[in-house]
């Protein structure tokens, strides 16, 4: 493993110059320096990563917990919600981010100004914006209902009383918050594509839609895949969106795993059940993480 990385590093030597990587072994006093430098991180890692992970595994180790979970209809709906939230939220967001990154490549002044505005959701704390969206939806006095009344003259639907509408609101809010971040990532990826590839493609007659499908997308496929995997892993554990936007309404039918586990642990007093609920995401989480680490190592895509 160490040698693979070393040889990779040689292969990537700057300007084709292969620098001999000297096996500079650490000498006596250097070893103690290195250990001293690593000590803070090792301490943090042991105390706040290894220990809580083991503690969590221990809390959720009783198989009976999973029987309890599966017999809870709210858990089943939570699991379905989580899958929908991740599958729809991540993919729609990524695809839109990919398309929008093309739009934001434009050099005109108003597009650049628009980009600064467009990044606002990312810069704002999720708590504030999600509560604002919650207020737009809740009661018949929220902004959306008021708009509905102003346009149609009738009262709007009570958004957070219908499970599908509340879940849609969660997903849309999630997309609203994280679209700018991934758009930025894709803008960076597009900027890394050399201009002469496009010129060559244009000569071959690939313009417009064809250029997008046959030139840009294949070149960005790796970044797209890694981003999607990373986002999937993060979104599986997304807490603030559902916690603030729908707050699980109606009747805890829009919970996702993170909020379900939170409520089980801190409202109903079953911390082990809460841990078990979150651990039930492991069958999806672990393969994604392994795939992600492999992709990152193989392709050298970095975020």
């Amino acid at each position: 493993m160490g040698t693979t990385l070393q040889s990779l590093r040689i292969g990537r030597g700057y300007g084709g110059v292969i620098r001999p990587v000297r096996p500079l072994r650490l000498q006596g006093s250097d070893t103690s320096w290195a250990l001293a430098f690593l000590l803070p991180y090792a301490a943090v890692f042991a105390a706040f990563v290894v220990y809580p992970v083991c503690f969590g595994l221990w809390m959720g180790s009783d198989p009976a917990l999973y029987g309890t979970l599966l017999s809870d209809p709210r858990y089943v709906s939570t699991a379905v919600n989580t899958l929908l939230f991740v599958a729809i939220g991540v993919n729609v967001k990524m695809f839109l981010a990919f398309l929008l990154s093309g739009f934001f490549m434009s050099r005109s002044w108003w597009v650049r100004t628009l980009l600064a505005v467009f990044l606002l959701p990312w810069a704002l704390p999720s708590l504030t914006v999600f509560v604002s969206i919650h207020y737009m939806l809740v009661t018949q006095y929220g902004l959306l209902d008021s708009l509905w009344r102003a346009v149609t003259g009738n009262d709007g639907p009570l958004f957070l009383v219908s499970q599908p509408i509340a879940m849609t609101a969660n997903i849309l809010s999630y997309i609203w918050k994280w679209l700018p971040f991934w758009t930025l990532i894709f803008i960076a990826a597009r900027m890394a594509i050399p201009q002469d590839i496009y010129e060559a493609a244009e000569i071959d007659g690939a313009t417009g839609w064809r250029r997008l499908a046959h030139v840009t997308f294949p070149l960005m496929a790796n970044v797209y895949l890694v981003s999607t995997l990373l986002s999937t892993v993060w979104t599986l554990g997304d807490f603030p969106t559902v916690y603030f936007v729908s707050s699980g309404a109606p009747a805890r039918l829009t919970d996702v795993l993170a909020t379900y586990g939170f409520h089980e642990a801190f409202d109903f007093g079953y911390p082990n059940l809460g841990v078990a609920a979150m651990m039930s995401a492991l069958p999806l989480l672990i393969p994604s993480v392994i795939l992600l680490m492999r992709r990152i190592r193989l392709t050298g895509v970095q975020l």
Partner: protein, 295 residues
């Protein structure tokens, strides 16, 4: 060949011009939709904050009697949920500042050792950091709550600082290792020949040259700490120890809590990250793309 392309363009000028206007109009339309989409929740925030308490529930889409009353209430702590507002604001700053410092210190020391000192098995540390980076923090919240009680740190700012440092450091190690590849190894080697020990190399050569990466990661850590909610909420429970995020969410506990005060508080709470973000945007963007896309 490109002459052909140009020739085709000249061949049907009207068609070409119409097409260009059409594309331009579509772009403007898209821009318009994006502005509405982006600003709607933010507009809602301001609208409610500028409303008086009675107007919040009149169902208008425009503040009828706009006033800065809610902001005065926030500034003077004139409401019982806001009694310790400025103290809590200070707490948020302490958490943000300490998290940033610790992240930069621990992250830079670790990545210096791995990438500059030819440490055998250094890749294991990088992989461990990467693992921590990709695992969602919320999944560790329940065990974290328990172990902070075991450590005797609950309801103390340091518990949040340590938790957030744990989650910010992997990203720091990642970016630092990436960025330090652009610093020639020969600098270290010549310093070593001149008799510098590793600490001096770290302090006098590595850190100054890493300044852009330090700024990028520092901004990231500060924003992470300021905007985080879950861990703040779990660890801090008394009004004196709370950060603004926790105090703000308290408004949601009661049904008749004044929306306008809450939204005014939310706006004040959002000012520091916005200023920081737009102030350091160039560095932030550089941090995001520092590794570049080599795929």
């Amino acid at each position: 060949m490109s002459a052909t392309v140009a020739g085709r363009k000249i061949g049907s000028p009207l068609h070409y011009r119409l097409r260009r206007y059409f594309v331009e109009a579509l772009c403007l339309l898209l821009g318009f939709v994006l502005v509405i989409w982006t600003l709607a929740p933010i507009y809602n925030m301001w609208m409610i904050a500028l409303d008086s308490h009675d107007d919040v529930f009149n169902g208008s889409v425009w503040p009828a009697h706009a006033s800065l009353e809610s902001f005065r209430v926030v500034a003077t702590e004139d409401f019982w949920y806001l009694e310790h507002f400025w103290h809590q604001f200070g707490n948020s700053f302490i958490v943000g500042g300490m998290t940033t410092l610790l992240t930069l210190l621990i992250g830079s020391l670790a990545s210096f050792t791995v990438s500059r000192m030819h440490l055998r098995n250094g890749w294991m540390l990088t992989n461990a950091a990467l693992m921590t980076y990709v695992i969602p923090a919320s999944f560790l919240a329940i065990p974290f709550y328990r172990i902070m009680q075991i450590y005797g740190l609950s309801n103390h700012l340091s518990s949040v600082i340590l938790a957030l440092t744990t989650f910010a450091t992997p990203y720091a190690i990642f970016i630092f290792s990436q960025y330090s590849k652009s610093i020639p190894m020969e600098l270290d080697e010549s310093a070593r020949i001149d008799g510098a020990n590793p600490w001096q190399i770290y302090y006098k050569i590595y850190l100054p040259l890493m300044a852009p990466a330090l700024v990028a990661v520092g901004t990231y850590a500060l924003l992470l700490a300021w905007n985080e909610y879950l861990y703040n909420f779990l660890m801090l429970s008394t009004p004196e120890s709370m950060t603004v995020a926790v105090a703000l969410a308290q408004f949601l506990n009661s049904d008749e809590s004044p929306w306008n005060f809450m939204m005014a508080t939310a706006i004040v709470y959002a000012i520091p990250p916005i200023v920081l973000y737009y102030g350091f945007r160039r560095y932030m963007a550089a941090g995001l793309t520092m590794g570049g896309v080599k795929g």
